[in-house]
């Protein structure tokens, strides 16, 4: 019997030893408790997620980079994302001939949310990196060999784009890179 259960015990031990599994278990337990704990909160969440004006909540993200690029990039990106979102909504409404079901709007909003997350990371990368030789032209920072580098400044890792703005406060010569 013991031999028959060995594979199971090994598997269990392997799973229990990996921290990410514990984190996922904790997240599942927390989500279940949250789900069962409050019906009102769940309904509020659903109302928020199925709101057709959901796209209006993300303008504040531009404030994360207020001084460095004079807030120009985010409004333009947001306007394009809004146009795509609203056009998609309009097309679906025309196709269905009227009101859209709530689940459809919820899916569109989740998609929009994920796209915003992607765009935030991309904007951070766009601001603090040069795209190619000579792409960082400006009077203050003329075309130079520095601009040919495509790595982020301050020794940050590629996936840590969001932390670069914070570390920039300690970068005395960041203008050279933009």
């Amino acid at each position: 019997m013991q031999c028959k259960l060995n594979w199971f015990l090994h598997a269990l031990g392997a799973w229990a030893n990996s921290p990410w599994v514990l984190v996922i278990c904790a997240a599942v337990i927390a989500a279940t408790a949250w789900w069962l704990g409050s019906r009102g909160r769940r309904q509020a969440c659903w109302v928020w997620l199925t709101d057709e004006h959901f796209y209006k909540c993300f303008g504040f993200l531009g404030l994360l980079w207020p001084q460095l690029e004079r807030r120009r990039v985010w409004p333009e990106v947001m306007e394009e994302a809004k146009i795509v979102y609203l056009e998609r909504l309009e097309q679906a409404r025309l196709y269905r001939g009227g009101q859209l079901p709530k689940w459809w709007v919820a899916l569109a909003n989740i998609r929009f949310l994920l796209q915003m997350a992607f765009l935030v990371v991309e904007m951070s990368r766009a601001i603090y990196r040069c795209n190619g030789p000579g792409d960082c032209i400006s009077q203050a920072a003329p075309v130079s060999a520095d601009c040919e580098l495509t790595r982020p400044i301050s020794g940050a890792l590629p996936w840590s784009g969001l932390w670069i703005p914070l570390s920039l406060n300690h970068e005395p010569n960041w203008r050279r890179w933009t």
Partner: protein, 112 residues
């Protein structure tokens, strides 16, 4: 030719894609993707902002209504300085092609 007048390949592509008429940021991004420069919206608008700083292009917003909601769409157009820079750069490379000393192993005036 002044050093700062020369454009990079991406800058040239960008100015060329805008063309003679005004074009929306979204259309321009699609056009550039077709030409082989496929970038996300933040990279694209960042790049456009830097070209605007250099007065090579002009950008402005136009109001539209979609699904009953007002939205502002960004449009771009070449400036006179941008046209001049593009033409100058094209001439510069054309001259290099015509008058090269056969450094790639061919005779001067090779065709790529």
């Amino acid at each position: 030719m002044n050093e700062t007048d020369k454009l990079t390949d991406v800058q040239m592509l960008f100015l060329e894609a805008i063309g003679a008429d005004k074009v929306s940021g979204r259309q321009l991004r699609e056009q550039l993707a077709k030409l082989g420069w496929r970038k996300s919206a933040p990279v694209f608008y960042q790049f456009a902002a830097r070209l605007e700083d250099e007065k090579l292009i002009k950008g402005w917003y136009e109001q539209r209504t979609i699904a009953g909601q007002p939205v502002r769409e960004r449009f771009y157009m070449l400036t006179a300085h941008g046209k001049q820079a593009l033409v100058k750069t094209l001439h510069f490379y054309e001259e290099r092609l015509r008058n090269n000393a056969g450094f790639l192993g061919g005779t001067p005036g090779y065709a790529m």
